[in-house]
Every structure is written in structure tokens, then in C-alpha cells.
Symmetry: C2
Subunit: 230 residues, 2 copies
């Protein structure tokens, strides 16, 4: 029984608590320094450096040097998507405190998945875009219809510019809290950045949490017909 996909290579990297925490922290899609990540994983900088070297060696993260600092980030959206799948499979976190419980609720509502939106809001938006006929799901991708092209133009998203980026244009990404799919890829990222530009959503420091602003609530209502509670 020597022939079977090599599951151990990836899982061994994720089986370590500190590395898993580092990767989970990086899933906010932002760059982070080694010291920041060390603090989040409650380990010394040397240890974080050791783990980050291993993660970069295995192409899970990439880094950019800038002066004294070195910024780390998830390598690409394939890695991010894979990590989301792992999270969807894993048992849900044990919630201890009330504070953690409400934080988890907010994360389940809206968070970043690498460089696009995830959580209930993202899943709802993706469903609406399908129901309205803007997107059609085919295999693991979404296809933008003619109607969709008009919609995205109205929203101010530059489809032509996005499609020039050399990456998956619109893959469907598994959502660990909703256990279904949301929109990822360049289009997911384009929408995400447009929402920020419009002031509909805001990112929070050191968290994957996304805040829907008042302007965002009316925006999502007007453009998508989506009522957001939280």
C-alpha cells in the first residue's frame, strides 16, 4: 500500500499549535512581522522565525523585507483556500468566555478569507449574485453573465483590469463557518477592495473581523437587497 496521496507532508505542518495559530492569524490577508506573529502565538521571536522559515520553505507563506522588518503573508489563494477547507473540517473551537463567544459570532458574520470576504454576509451575497443571474457556478468557478457585467460596472468594479491579473479569476471558496461556498479569486478580491473604497466595510487591526458600516448596510440593501442584522 505504498501508493496513496501524500497526506503527511501538509498535515505535519498544520499539526503544530504555534504554526496553526500563525497561519490562522495570517488568514486576515494582511502582512505581519515575525514579532507580531510571535506575540499572537505566545512564543519567542526565535521560535516564530523557526516556524516561519519552515512555512516559507514549504511555500505556505511568502515574505518581503522592508528595512529592519520582514513581512509575512499567505503565499497565494490556493493556500488560503486549502486552509479554509481544513478549518471547515476541524471541530469548532471551544468557546470559553462571553467575550470569545461574541467575537466568534462576529467572525461568523463577516471576516476576511485571505484577500476577500467570508462568513455569513459573503455567502449571502454570493447566493444573491447567483439568484439574480449575475454569476453562475460551474465546477469550482463562477462565470460572470452579461447581466453580471452590467451589475459589476454599476458597482464600480473593473472586470477588465481584474481579469488581467495572473490568478484565478473567480474560484468558489469553501466557508468554514457556513459550510458552503463563497466567491474568491481576483473577482472576490476586487469586490472586497471596492467595498472598502465605498466605505461599506472596515477591517480591524490584528483580527480577521470585518465591520459592516452604516453606509455598508444601506449599500448592501440597495445593490443586493440584503438586510444585514449585526
Amino acid at each position: 500500500m505504498s501508493i496513496h496521496p501524500n497526506i503527511t507532508a501538509l498535515t505535519a505542518l498544520l499539526a503544530e499549535k504555534s504554526r496553526a495559530t500563525i497561519l490562522a492569524a495570517l488568514m486576515d490577508g494582511k502582512f505581519h512581522t515575525a514579532s507580531e506573529l510571535a506575540y499572537m502565538a505566545t512564543i519567542k521571536p526565535q521560535t516564530a522565525s523557526f516556524h516561519l522559515a519552515k512555512l516559507e520553505e514549504n511555500n505556505l507563506v511568502i515574505s518581503e523585507k522592508n528595512g529592519r522588518f520582514r513581512y509575512f503573508r499567505i503565499a497565494n489563494d490556493e493556500v488560503a483556500n486549502t486552509l479554509e477547507i481544513f478549518m471547515s473540517i476541524s471541530p469548532p473551537p471551544e468557546v470559553r468566555s462571553l467575550k470569545q463567544s461574541s467575537q466568534l459570532k462576529r467572525l461568523e458574520n463577516a471576516r476576511t478569507c485571505y484577500d476577500h470576504l467570508a462568513g455569513r454576509v459573503s455567502v449571502n451575497l454570493t447566493n444573491i449574485m447567483q439568484e439574480e443571474g449575475y454569476l453562475e457556478r460551474c465546477n469550482k468557478k463562477f462565470i460572470v453573465s452579461a447581466k453580471g457585467e452590467l451589475f459589476f460596472r454599476d458597482l464600480g468594479v473593473d472586470l477588465v483590469g481584474l481579469s488581467k491579473k495572473r490568478r484565478s479569476f473567480s474560484h468558489s471558496c469553501l466557508d468554514w463557518s457556513e459550510r458552503t461556498h463563497h466567491l474568491g479569486g481576483a473577482l472576490g478580491n476586487g469586490l472586497f477592495e471596492r467595498y472598502i473604497e465605498l466605505g461599506w466595510i472596515e477591517t480591524k487591526a490584528n483580527s480577521r473581523e470585518i465591520v459592516i458600516t452604516t453606509r455598508g448596510k444601506s449599500g448592501f440593501k440597495d445593490f443586493f437587497g440584503l438586510e444585514i442584522q449585526m
Copy 2:
């Protein structure tokens, strides 16, 4: 950053070569003794026993005692499905010999996934059943249409009996070689057993490989319109 799904619990179990091999071997859906699994993983029986205890403790496998023997099996189709997802994520196996290469090709063509059919043949059959309107994919399940009920009755599959089994009736299962979905659950199992009954397919000892018989080739052609090359 304490709030994040607990990825380490599952991955730690899969990160070990011997355990991964044992689980991969059990993915043929059959019961296997501890000695058999020890032999397949090239470890001593004590070591296999140690791993199997761990796997059973974490509800990945179940066992039945029968005389001196103890038979182990994947716990349920959720576990099997999860393992398939892990395999689909993991890098493909390094093929060394010509023998391994042809074995891999046969596995990619048709193999068991827990207790139903997987591989190219299974994906093709599933697609055909959707195109012909026997099945409709909805969320993560397949729904049998009225037309489908007739089809399955003609094929000799007892839908009523299957639906009485207390398990997922017809979930869609991720295929690691084809990177798309095939039919699992009780219906997938029912079809699988019916194919064997009809003499269309044959299982091989100590392998997930499935052989399509000559009778099977004409059967799949007549009932599904599927030409099978291998």
C-alpha cells in the same frame, strides 16, 4: 488570536506516516484485521494496535470483534469524505516505477471510496445521471427525480430499502483524482453493491482498485451510455 478552529486535533492524527497508510488502506471500505494493516504499513502488530487504538479513540475508525480477530473499518462516511478531501488537497504521489504508474492509472480510473465507487468512471456516471435528469445536485446532496426513480428501479436498486438506512442518503463526495464530485451515501453504496451483484465490477484483495468486467462495460454502455476504455 485564540479563536480559530482547532486544526491541530485532526491533522496531528494524519501527520504520521503509518497512520496515514492505515487510513488509506481502510479507504477500500472493507474491514481489515490489525495484522493486515500492520503488514500494509510495514510495522509490527503492537505498533499498529497502538495506532488503531488512537484512531478509534478519535472516532476515525470503528472495530468489531469476531473470535480471535478484530476487524477495523472507517467509522462512517463523513470520515471517509473528509479523508478524500485531504487527499484531494495533498500533493500527488511521486510515481517511481512503471508498475506503480500503471497501478495509479487504474486507481484513477476506478476505485472504492469507503463503500461506493470513485475515480473517473464514478465521476462520469454521476455526471451522466445529472445530465439525464435522474439526479439533481442541491447543496451537498443529490436529489432523485421521478425519472430517476424509474431508472434505478430498472437497474434493480431498491430506493425504499436504502432510504430506511439511517445514514446520509445521497451526499456528493469529493474525488481526489478527478477533483470534482461523485455520488456517495446510501445511494452510492446501493449502486456499488448492485454493480457487484450484476457482475459489472470486481474488487481486488488488499487494494482499492476496481476492475470493470466485460459484462460491466456493456452494462454501463447500455444503461448509462458510457464507453469505458480501460
